[in-house]
């Protein structure tokens, strides 16, 4: 199918949506074969990739009720003042 006229803005929008959905899949999903993902990105994005591990740690901590222990420590330090 070829377009002889300029693409409508809805076409462009859908094309952008397609690209973003593709990026979402291709950057974060798919078979994880290796720990070495060779992606060249800017500074803040490097942190983003590394935070994946932090996120699982946070979720695990919440399940283990770690905040309660933190809070108990907080309670201790309040009583010390």
């Amino acid at each position: 199918m070829t377009h002889t006229s300029l693409p409508s803005s809805e076409d462009e929008l859908h094309r952008e949506v397609t690209l973003l959905e593709l990026l979402d899949r291709v950057l974060d999903k798919g078979v994880v074969l290796t720990g070495d993902i060779t992606i060249s990105v800017a500074d803040v994005d490097l942190v983003y990739v590394g935070l994946r591990v932090l996120l699982s740690s946070v979720e695990a901590a919440q399940r283990m009720d770690a905040p309660r222990q933190l809070m108990e420590n907080l309670g201790c330090s309040i009583s010390a003042h």
């Binding site: 959905e21 899949r25 950057l27 974060d28 999903k29 994880v32 060779t38 992606i39 990739v49």
Partner: protein, 237 residues
């Protein structure tokens, strides 16, 4: 350096010749009757630009035309063939099972493009509080927490009303709820011969719930239904 596009099956016929990243030819490494689609490079950098990402996807989709495919994440590289060979031979059974589970299917994605906040009434303004009372603060905070919980249950019910009829048309499904952003993101593994039914059901749900602003995209390779074959905590950039 070896760039990996997908884990697939060799079949009796080789895949068509395909131009991969940086126009390098793609080839199929054969390990235990599993085919790894790769291309070879010398010290290339794989930036996720639109062009590179389209090229990666082009290879994956071309393979998908006639065989079961587990698409790899963008930027998956190995230094040597030996490294891949070892991993694949250790995970052969997992891979075979995963290939079977996606055979004949495509992935369809559904998102609800409104946030939880947009779905719910705005919270009542907090009554003026005694600034010196810690107790008053805690009670107000408890109120907020309870409201959040009530909202969450409504969100879940909404998501379920969409997810259930779509899951019924799929072989597998995965759902993510984001209270803060888009209410729901879901992926469905749908047999190719049911994709029309699926699209019809999505249109029907979209007209039933126009305020939820459904976005449906596809067909995609099964990115959301591919297994993790290595220890993810090794990831570093």
């Amino acid at each position: 350096m070896i760039y990996v596009y997908a884990v697939t099956e060799p079949l009796t016929r080789p895949p068509p010749p395909l131009a991969g990243m940086y126009d390098q030819p793609t080839e199929l490494l054969l390990i235990n009757d599993i085919g790894i689609a790769i291309s070879r490079h010398l010290g290339c950098i794989f930036t996720p630009t639109a062009d590179h990402v389209y090229r990666h996807e082009h290879v994956v989709e071309a393979l998908m035309k006639d065989r079961a495919v587990l698409p790899a994440r963008f930027g998956t590289t190995f230094r040597e063939e030996h490294d891949i060979q070892h991993l694949i031979s250790v995970k052969t059974e997992v891979i075979r099972a995963a290939l079977e589970s996606v055979r004949g299917c495509v992935e369809l994605g559904v998102r609800v493009l409104v946030s939880s906040a947009q779905v719910h009434d705005p919270p009542e303004p907090a009554p003026a509080m005694n600034q010196n009372s810690g107790r008053a603060w805690m009670l107000a905070r408890l109120d907020r927490e309870r409201q959040t919980e009530r909202d969450r249950l409504v969100d879940q019910a909404l998501a379920t009303s969409l997810h259930e009829p779509l899951t019924a048309l799929a072989r597998d499904a995965c759902l993510r709820l984001h209270p803060d952003r888009f209410l729901m993101t879901a992926a469905y593994l749908v047999p190719r011969d049911r994709t029309d039914d699926f699209a019809t059901e999505v249109q029907s749900l979209a007209s039933k719930h126009p305020q939820l602003r459904l976005l449906c995209t596809g067909p995609w390779p099964p990115y959301n239904f591919a297994p993790t074959l290595c220890d993810a905590t090794n990831t570093h950039a």
